[in-house]
């Protein structure tokens, strides 16, 4: 019987053929990633790049803004000048764009050699789980990377080879820059920066009484709320407890009394009207721009705004860490590091790629970073220009030495970003009680941890 005589039959045959074509379960077979990782470690070695022959390194990064772009362009040029046999093919993408396309790129046949893979389970964790990134431990030993960074910083780029554990195990990337979420203040409106948390709250109250916006805050994009919340969380919770939570270690929970206290405080601030009015409908950029125009005495934001704020306000802007509950006690703050550079498993030239990453993070690179207005994450003798930048470098040194940094909460599980940002918006709008807030967030987290 001719298939062509029966169109429906032809369609059926076609459908079956297609279905059979995609018959395998997506993602292919589950190879032993641990064994592959071990082999990769054994074959890793420090080489003389000049003798490696003609090599092209494809690098995907998101260093596209201002000083970030300047530093990567300068370092790439310097690397190629030193090793004329190496060509760096740079693919620059925005942060969002990189995060959404990285998985497809890295799992494809023409995978780039070096990529910036965001910390945490949503991006780096999934790539490690799929065996798509190369463990860097052997390189770290050969190049002495452990001496460059504080342990808390390296831990953020660590996963066990099956990605079940985060914050320990193999090293999968190195970051160039540090980030702190701290408190910017308007020197004209805040002549005496507060020394304790209590004083800080008193100044908020005074600003409110004067009819001013105490804290410039725009939360339309949802993620800024994480920074406000964690800045308070750092005042109540132990850094280790927060780290254990983010790394999903045994027994960690979000529904802790400390987190509830933090939620209560931030909720109280919202109720008292310390924040920019209608903050949930105000954009992040308009909010900090209002701060530069004197609408807002404080701004809780990251060090990525240094250049913009200094440009707009000059000496009028100061930076400090959120003051601790007791005067003189070491401050604790939300902080971390920029997206780590990692080597893909499919790279043909991992040893050259490792030398490149080494070049991006050595002492010279630290000077280039400081020169271009960035905050170097590695230890460096570089002296930044400008009062604001020096404040920030000082704060960074304190935090890394004391290991008094808590990581971004959204590293915790693949879906945590969505859950925590929505919950914070609800909490601040008065739609969630603090206790319900911590419980809701914990419920979402438990779904992930129980799965194992």
């Amino acid at each position: 019987m001719s298939v062509l005589r029966h169109p429906s039959l032809a369609l059926l045959v076609l459908c079956t053929a297609i279905a059979a074509g995609c018959g395998a379960s997506p993602g292919g077979d589950d190879e032993d990633t641990a064994r592959k990782a071990e082999q990769a470690r054994e074959s890793s070695k420090k080489i003389d790049v000049a003798k490696a022959g003609d090599v092209t390194l494809t690098v995907w990064d998101q260093e596209v803004r201002g000083g970030q772009r300047k530093q990567i362009e300068r370092l790439n040029r310097a690397f190629q000048e030193r090793y004329p046999n190496v060509t760096i093919k740079r693919v620059a993408k925005s942060f969002e764009d990189l995060n959404t396309t990285l998985k497809l790129a890295v799992s494809g046949d023409k995978a780039p050699d070096v990529v910036q893979a965001n910390q945490g389970r949503p991006v780096m964790g999934q790539l490690v789980k799929g065996g798509l990134l190369r463990p860097l431990d052997a390189y770290a030993e050969a190049y002495g990377w452990a001496d460059r960074y504080s342990k808390v910083l390296l831990d953020l780029n660590r996963f066990s080879d099956d990605a079940a554990e985060f914050g320990s195990g193999g090293l999968y990337g190195l970051s160039q820059m540090g980030e702190i979420v701290g408190v910017y203040y308007n020197r004209e409106q805040v002549p005496d920066p507060p020394a304790t948390f209590e004083e800080f709250e008193a100044q908020l109250e005074r600003a409110k009484a004067d009819g001013d916006v105490a804290i410039a805050f725009g939360n339309l994009e949802k993620w800024p709320g994480i920074h406000e919340f964690e800045t308070l969380q750092a005042q109540y919770a132990e850094p280790d407890a927060v780290r254990d939570f983010v790394f999903a270690r045994e027994g960690a929970t979000f529904a802790s009394p400390e987190n509830e206290q933090a939620a209560e405080t931030i909720r109280r601030w919202a109720e008292k009207g310390y924040f920019t009015p209608d903050f949930n409908g105000t954009g992040y950029d308009p909010a900090w721009q209002q701060f530069t125009r004197g609408k807002g005495r404080f701004l809780i934001a990251g060090t990525w705004l240094i250049a913009d704020l200094a440009d707009a306000m000059g000496d009028k802007v100061g930076f400090m860490l959120m003051p601790p509950p007791e005067a003189g006690a070491p401050p604790v703050s939300l902080g971390g590091e920029s997206l780590p550079f990692a080597i893909t498993s499919k790279s043909q030239n991992p040893d050259v790629a490792a030398a490149y990453i080494d070049f991006l993070t050595n002492a010279d690179a630290g000077r280039v970073l400081a020169d271009t207005g960035n905050l170097p994450a590695m230890e460096t003798d570089a002296q930044p220009a400008g009062a604001l930048a020096r404040d920030v470098h000082e704060a960074w040194r304190t935090l890394t030495e004391q290991e008094a940094m808590i990581p971004y909460l959204d590293y915790a599980t693949p879906t945590f970003y969505d859950e925590i940002t929505g919950a914070i918006q609800r909490l601040l709008a008065g739609k969630l009680e603090p206790q319900q807030f911590t419980r809701d967030v914990q419920d979402g987290y438990a779904k992930f941890t129980e799965q194992g």
Binding site: A10, D29, K129, L220, K222, N280
Partner: protein, 296 residues
């Protein structure tokens, strides 16, 4: 089959051969991806490591997960703003233009149609600025005329955010509806209007007795286009609110993006996508059935 040639015009087997190129393209670019998506929807897959067979669980989640339920509910609410309101406004404008000779009609039509021409991303960025609580056009305008009390937290309020997002779409689509309808009105024979007037019909009666039935086909087209736009709406939500505050403005297409590209739940994303495609298909079918019945 006998070797005798069939009479001219009768279906012949060879005809299927002519369909083949079209079918091949359709199969490669529509059918295959669709089936592949349906297949992926049966797995729990993070997009990288091996997927795990979960059967119809991902489809079950469409009913059981409150997030997804509310996303589909929001899509239905947005239908009012994407489809019903633009069509209503378009009809009103078309009816008004049908009764009077407007000087410079083309210019008007062009201006009202302009929102259609602008990329949705640009529209969304612009409206985000218009809706800004501080310095936004709406709130500052209200304050300027002494109605500051009416100024709202348009995109940040849990109840206002969804209508605010919807109104952007109304602004975009009413021009499209109007252009379709004014063109349709011109092909209604003037004798019908004359007859209605002789029979003593007022403007309202005339609208319901002559204009509305005459525009049935155009209304179906407008409804189909706007309904599809409503259900696959992504860009406006992504740029204005990102689904917030809380999840007050999430829509299915946004959930697809979030699951597939952000949180590594590709199977779940595929299930939402398939379901969304099915809903769009069913609704367009219903709208066109309704239009066809009227024509007979």
């Amino acid at each position: 089959m006998s070797a005798r040639a069939a009479p001219p015009g009768e279906p012949r087997r060879v005809a299927y051969l002519y369909l083949l190129p079209g079918l091949a393209v359709f199969a490669a670019f529509v059918l295959a991806p669709l089936l592949h998506t349906a297949w992926i929807a049966l797995f729990e897959w993070d997009g990288v490591s091996a997927g795990e067979w979960v059967g119809l669980d991902n489809f079950g989640a469409l009913v059981t997960e409150p997030e997804l339920r509310s996303a589909f509910w929001h899509a239905l609410v947005l239908l009012v703003f994407y489809a019903v309101l633009p069509v209503a406004i378009g009809l009103l404008l078309a009816a008004a233009m049908a009764r009077t000779r407007v000087r410079g009609l083309t210019a008007f039509r062009t201006v009202l149609f302009l929102p259609q021409v602008i990329a949705l991303v640009v529209v969304a960025v612009m409206w985000r600025m218009i809706y800004a609580p501080e310095g936004g056009l709406i709130n500052e305008g209200l304050r300027a005329i002494g109605l500051g009390g009416l100024a709202q937290n348009w995109l940040g309020d849990f109840t206002l955010a969804l209508p605010s997002v919807g109104l952007i779409a109304t602004w975009v689509f009413y021009g499209l509806a109007m252009v379709l309808f004014t063109a349709g009105v011109q092909k209604i024979p003037p004798s019908l209007y004359d007859a209605a007037r002789v029979d003593g019909a007022g403007p309202v009666r005339e609208f319901f007795a002559v204009t509305l039935p005459g525009l049935r086909g155009e209304i179906a087209v407008a409804l189909t286009l706007t309904t599809i736009a409503a259900l696959r709406n992504f860009d406006i939500v992504y740029i204005t609110t990102g689904g917030g505050p809380g999840d007050a403005t999430t829509v299915p297409a946004f959930e697809v993006y979030e699951r597939a590209f952000q949180s590594g739940r590709v199977g779940g994303a595929a299930a939402v996508g398939i379901c969304l495609a099915a809903v769009i298909f069913a609704l367009s079918l219903a709208i066109n059935r309704f239009a066809d019945r009227g024509l007979r």
